[in-house]
Amino acid sequence: MSIETIEAEEIDVEEVLGSAIERREDPELVTGEGVYTDDVQDPELAHMAVLRSQYGHAEIDGIDTSEAEAMDGVIGVYTAEDIDEAGTPGDLPVGWLLPDLKTPSHPILAGDRARYQGDGVAVVVAEERYLAHDALDRIDVDYERLDAVVDPKAAVEADAPQLHDWSEDPTDTDVRDDEDIERVPPNQAFDWEIGDSEATDEAFENAAHTVEVDLENQRLIPNAMEPRATVAEYKPGTGEVEVQMTSQNPHLHRQLMSAVLDVPEHKLHIVAPEVGGGFGSKIHHYPDEALTCWCAMQLERPVKWQATRSETYLTDAHGRDHVTHAELAMDDAGTITGMRVTTYAGMGAYLSTFAPSIPTYLYGTLLSGQYDIPAIHCNVIGSFTNGAPVDAYRGAGRPEALYVVERLVTLGAREMGMDPAAFRRQNFIPEDDFPHETPVAVVYDSGDYEPALDAALEMVEYEELRERQAELREEDRYLGIGFSSYIEACGLAPSELAGQLGAQAGLWESGLVRVHPSGTVTAFCGTSGHGQGHETTYAQIVSDELGVPYEDIEIVEGDTDEIPQGMGTYGSRSAAVGGSALATSSQKVVDKARTIAAHLLETGEEDLEFENGEFNVAGAPERSMTIQEVAQQAYLAHNIPEGVEPGLEETSFYDPENFTFPFGTHVAVVEVDPESGEIEFHQYAAVDDVGNQINPKIVEGQIHGGIAQGIGQALYEGAVYDDNGTLLTGSMQDYAVPKAEHVPNMETDATVTPAPHNPLGVKGVGEAGTIASPQAVVNAVTDALQPFDIDHIDMPLTEEKVWRAVNGSEEGS
């Protein structure tokens, strides 16, 4: 049922928007022509490698670099002391602040203490990459190991080893016993809440039925195809630093790195060449990219750093890491009356760039899901642990929220003895109740949930499926049907709201549309695609707005010198915010062109119709001009209206009114073998409402990839640290990223409820699959195991966990 692609030449310009045009970026990428950061060459290039703490928590009593420095071909070896001596600030900023947030220093090289395995301790720059890595082995670090803590909940217990020094020594019993001193638990980064606590407690007091669950949303490792990399060159003559790096947001990296390196923003030029995926991991500002620049500046030589896959496991910001207790209150008819959630969210050793926003504003605000819930309260305690920093990872807070909601709702239906689909339907926010304000500070601007549920039920032939389930149970075969009626929030906005919530950045996007004198177009956007297909979809948007052929439009992203400003690509924001910026700029171009055309056609602007790239005088179709002809005249400027500047290009900074709220229902159908714990997919149906679709093929690809990634979380993936903070799942040998054979055939369908507030009616699709799928799978497995009275199994649902649940064993992992 896969969507067929079409070639752009085969369709008329009025059909370009909404067509499944082949991705134009693919030929370059699949033939090896694309230039990724590691493909950047320079005869002068030196190579940097980072020595990383081998321990999860240790004092550093000394570092002897002499042997490494003495090696032939080693150019320099640096430690935190050298950064200090150079007077470089070298401290990574936090881009989102919460009330009473603890923001410990995050130096680009660890000085006297390493707080996670992977924390940089020293760097080597050498003539060759292999040599740089060999030299790392010759650096002698005198570590004094410290106790570590890796569990987000254990980290805030009073006797936990403390990572950062800001409160009293937790081992000092005098202080601990002094009740007059209000102590912050040792590793607490923040204690945040949303919703009405009293109203929620009251809902629970009055509830006819309640259910509760303890669940973990396990720590995940992003695994973008291309590990992070940087090439930096310093130009002493001008003081400029040229940087090519794996970035999802070059402008943001420029702003942050300017502060870290004390290089003025206008002297930093950051380019994201081809970038091989990110899943969020290339949003953040890490130490390594700044270190590469710092070395290039010190040595006045271009320096390249390319992470190994092992380094990405240790240092790319991980995702999720929640320990949660959640409860649902219902009346005697199964109507939800309240939800109460307490979450301990692991932050890792330091606060990554946007880390504080993920388990708070991107999590607590989504807990209403698709349901009309009168009272919700959520308390989130963020804690420092001896693991890699945790930050946005595909979905970022929203998968964690919807996992809680959809697990609770499934348990609620079970408690009420109701069909899980009927229970959901009964509690959906009705179609006539939009805009809908939830008790967790969000206004859903639009939604219509029943058609998506109905479509999904039809796809799996639900009634027959339930009959089949009953038949199979007679044969001791265990079929399960799992639902996930999800909501998400894309394109965090507007900037004013983001600012009120603690963002240290705006969340608008810029778009520049330049019509050349010959009538072809280059459009520039501040988003920064890394696999999403923006070159295709943005060209479709501009083509539709200007009526210029798709082939005549080029898209430019990912270069701070070429693009006015930008916020980057993450949070499923590019189409809704970046696409809207390009649409708005295109409309401004048309407005200016209309003024010029009216002048040349000697008519009023109001008498001009614009269709498919042509201005026609109403009622006199023979009097017309194409936009290309207008462009030529705009640049010739021999005869343009008074007060109009020559040229034809427009820029806009588009700041959305609100988030967009995609939604849908996914249904997983699985069979579980209680003997082996094995889970086999029979079906996976997904109905997603992402608003208007610019390119259905790209939407389908995003849904497929997202579901696969969510299934990875549900069944396979999970970062495991031991009690010392040593990462046990440090490579693909031990960390199971799903492979093609692990992913079922997916049937996809869509409903279309356009976003009401942006010019395109689009909502965003990049994260929908990862937000929707984990709980569909977990709900299916627990549905299958209902005869064994199993309410919950924590992800990943490995065969062993399933087998143990069935066998009631208490032991094991």
Partner: protein, 297 residues
């Protein structure tokens, strides 16, 4: 991800390889064939040989020979050649089936039978198949050639009966036309190696099992026979009931405390999987045997 420096030698012949091994006997040496075990361990820093002796170009060690009484598989034969060989599937299906279960197409095109067996990774697929097939390992050393029965070959994790100065040159698999053989594997979702893999070979007379050889990978520190299963099958009629009864005995002789216990699976769960996969391997063997009634559809 970046191996430590090492010296590289290429052997042109078996004799050349043996003399290079002798020449470097004072250093840490590793033999390189397909490289699918050695290179990852070198890149991870787990192996740091001073000298790598590449035997990969010794063409005489590559190929499958249909000899009298046995199939001979040269040490450098890639898994894919075994999987693609009708002869191997016909004469000793268990070995072909195990080769078919290794890695993916790229791995099977590159990894070698000899390298796999000599490396003796406890989670590898060929060792149990070699045991079930009652194969023989042929090794060349300074004093010439010797044969080592599969039952004597695997000693412990990554440890075999091969001496330091010996080179595994080929294996011999007895022909068993009319037998039933199968390999059932639970692969690790991350690495693709066997959490457990069970190899079975059954000879039947009419529908009576006359001889059974059953062995498991992944469960213990090296591939081992499951003798209680073999005993439970021998002399019995080859039916679903026999299979179920026999599979229940799969772990009778395995000391659970010694069963592999790691992130992938605890020893307790592995033991459970040994039973489940023994039953599946036997089911497949039954389906493939002449005993099985014709399929209904």
């Amino acid at each position: 991800m970046y191996p430590a420096p090492f010296e590289y030698e290429r052997a042109e012949s078996v004799e050349d390889a043996l003399s290079l091994m002798d020449e470097h006997s004072d250093s840490i040496t590793e033999l390189l064939a397909g490289g699918h075990s050695l290179l990852p361990t070198m890149k991870a820093g787990l192996a740091t040989p001073d000298v790598v002796i590449d035997i990969g170009e010794i063409d005489a060690l590559r190929g499958i020979e249909n000899a009298e009484g046995s199939i001979t598989v040269g040490a450098l034969t890639p898994y894919s050649a075994v999987d693609d060989s009708e002869t191997v599937w016909t004469e000793t299906a268990v070995f072909a089936d195990a080769a078919h279960h290794i890695g993916d197409v790229q791995v099977r095109n590159r990894g070698t039978v000899g390298g796999n067996i000599a490396h003796a990774d406890p989670a590898s697929d060929l060792p149990a198949a070699l045991l079930a097939a009652d194969g023989t390992v042929i090794a060349h050393g300074p004093d010439g050639e010797r044969s080592i029965a599969a039952d004597e070959f695997f000693e412990a994790s990554y440890m075999t009966a091969l001496a330091e100065d010996e080179l595994l040159t080929r294996i011999e698999l007895p022909k068993r036309g009319g037998h039933a053989g199968a390999y059932a594997k639970k692969p690790s979702p991350s690495s693709g190696y066997a959490i457990v893999g069970v190899a079975v070979v059954l000879e039947t007379d009419g529908n009576t099992v006359t001889d059974a050889r059953v062995a498991v990978n992944g469960a213990m520190d090296h591939a081992v026979r499951l003798e209680p299963v073999e005993e439970a099958l021998s002399g019995e009629s080859f039916t679903d009931e026999t299979i179920t009864t026999a599979a229940e005995r799969a772990t009778d002789d395995l000391d659970t405390a010694m069963v592999m216990d790691d992130l992938q699976a605890s020893n307790e769960f592995r033991a459970q999987l040994v039973e489940v996969y023994t039953e599946r391997a036997l089911d497949t063997a039954l389906d493939r045997s002449s005993v099985a009634p014709p399929a209904a559809d």
